[in-house]
């Protein structure tokens, strides 16, 4: 939306008649992110208190649900910010990007399920490893697809705006590959220490909120793509 005709024109030229229309993929992805993040709350059911029981105790007992909600909210929020920042550098789209992006969104929209699983079973020792492994595994798969998507668009400037600085591009690639490896590590850690696995996930989410490599949101040239809101 609000994409200027000139942008489109350039892209059409550069892409042999295919539309560069990344704006619609972006808007659709943003909506999926916003819905997935807001749906997290409906996995927390109101506790049932009766008679002499204290409602406060029941509510405190739900702490894994609040923790899961907070971690997943932060993770999805961070993934959204990264996804959005990257799409601002993408000048063209093709059917492979479209497909990779749908598979990536499939992972993101899946996150409420392992979050509810985590909240339900983190207190029970016999099930804890499974719950944390499924949770960290989902995030690892999400990170893998994000990295694959990025490698596809950035490799050889396939779909990325040609005005983006190559040094910047390599810095981003390193950043995502590194993040992916750490999410896979978090998955492996789940089988050793669920607590360590979750801690690593929280640290990763907080790290990715930090500023990106210097100037990473800019482009070398005209700033044409950064005109997109």
């Amino acid at each position: 939306m609000g994409q200027h005709r000139e942008d489109e024109g350039v892209a059409v030229t550069a892409n042999g008649g295919q539309s560069s229309d990344t704006g619609r993929i972006e808007a659709f992805s943003d909506a999926v992110f916003a819905i997935a993040i807001t749906l997290l709350i409906i996995e927390i059911g109101v506790p049932h208190a009766e008679g002499a029981e204290s409602l406060s105790d029941k509510l405190l007992h739900l702490w894994p649900s609040y923790l899961g909600y907070a971690i997943s909210f932060l993770v999805i929020g961070t993934v959204w910010a990264n996804h959005h920042n990257r799409f601002r550098l993408i000048a063209r789209s093709d059917h492979i990007l479209l497909f990779l992006n749908i598979v990536f969104l499939m992972c993101v929209a899946f996150i409420p399920f392992p979050t509810a699983l985590l909240a339900e079973y983190i207190r029970e020792e016999e099930y804890r490893t499974t719950a944390v492994a499924v949770y960290s595994g989902t995030l690892a798969v999400t990170a893998i697809f994000f990295t694959v998507l990025w490698l596809y668009v950035a490799g050889n400037y396939r779909l990325v705006d040609r005005s983006v600085d190559p040094i910047l591009l390599r810095a981003m690639t390193r950043r995502y590959v590194f993040g992916m490896v750490l999410y896979i590590l978090a998955f492996a850690l789940a089988f050793v220490s669920p607590a360590a696995s979750l801690s690593l996930i929280i640290i990763l989410a907080l790290l990715f909120v930090l500023p990106e490599p210097e100037g990473s949101s800019g482009t070398r040239g005209t700033g044409r793509r950064s005109a997109r809101g």
Copy 2:
């Protein structure tokens, strides 16, 4: 949104005072697609494990839910991409398009229900045929309404941008009629072999991710409509 006044002006002229405002239909439809696709996850309930039972077994036992989630995600994602690509060629709207589109969205937003049904009953042989028939039937009806909508807008260039190549238009019509026939075939197949029916649906979703007929997203002329994001 972001539709330029000149577009509107042209459309008003071409349409005798009716608004061409397809942007709002598009934005509304995109939101419905994004919500329907993301709501799929809430149909998967966290399994209940107790005592000696293994949580992993319980989770593996849910495979039809994951399968249903993946297929429906892919199907809705593909339908969204096709819907969005087609609306970029539509230059005007009228009340019949508005109505056909609402009925079409009614089908799309319905998909989470047969998906949950499929996940619940695909393992039980006595119910499998019914579940797969309802699922493939819903997709067939969705495909029928999409084709009707397309035939209405494209027939005699009724609402389609006049700069679109007629050869392209016919290629798209063939594509949608063909897809519709195959979805109806998948519905019929459900009564013979549910597995074959589902396989056909998966193949169809993957096929529609493939590139469209050459230049299908472009227009003959000024690219005026492709200025829309």
Copy 3:
């Protein structure tokens, strides 16, 4: 979004420093409509079939849920179209419009509840009147708030674009007052004949899909407001 600075400038002048920013109200309202319409499906639960029971029978038995889904989808879709068309004529906003619109959206977002109630109880004669009365009553209250909102913005051209034809404005006012009266009638009818009440509601939804009074989407003048998507 995409609102042009000049629009804003004019509105600021006309409104003593208040922003005319109707675009954000519109986008927010559209999102609420899209979510409410798509949430309708989650009120339909997958039926529980066991042993000798037929799943098809169980599914057919859910017909009131499908009927409720279809009617409410059509009603919300129609209300959305009307709301959206009217906002295209509104040039300025103020705090009363903002408040009236939030109360109006509160009614729209409430519709999934009486829809589920209708689906649950329409088959049971002792509860049918109550269920249909609550359903039609919700729609009547929604229509009342929509009419109040319209009377507020259109009265004496308070917030409406001054270039809109006064004859058109009066035609719209008649249309909404008339619709409101008929929805109130549907509510009253529920106590006499629930079937007649529901039939009237379906007819009303279909009627409002019909074209509006001649030229109703246009404006007298420059078409400045119709530049909004």
Copy 4:
């Protein structure tokens, strides 16, 4: 979306290569608000009536659910309006704003949970204090994060458009700090009189619908930022 390149250009200059891209944060936040407000309804379950029981009585018995729905709808609607108005004055974004905004949205998206809790327990005297305290506490924490976010962006014109009148800026800061203090007071009141606490919350929501300090939506200068929809 629809953000003009010139805006971006100015911001890039003013911010050393960082993108000012507040539009995407705004659009994402708006979507979260819209979803959270519309999800409120799914916390109200259809009552179960059987035999001689009257469905109307059952429905009337649900009054706390309707009350909770109405209050939370009004509160989220008001918070949305305030959030949106403030972002129109923000010219640049940075990673701290992004993070504060995600944490703030985490509070907003949480509101459906205490709303359901309130509806469930407000009738039972032994649990009422806890339910109202959790509800008002959630709103107080939301108000605190909103105020922190505002103090961060407005302090020393850190991210706010430099053309905004300093007197206006101080008036807004006073307004938010004052609101925050009253929400904290509502939380404290819950332990003395739950009814008084809820009344204060309703009054606050209605107060914030009232017009802002004179000219608060405008800017001193060119109105450049107010061009954002």
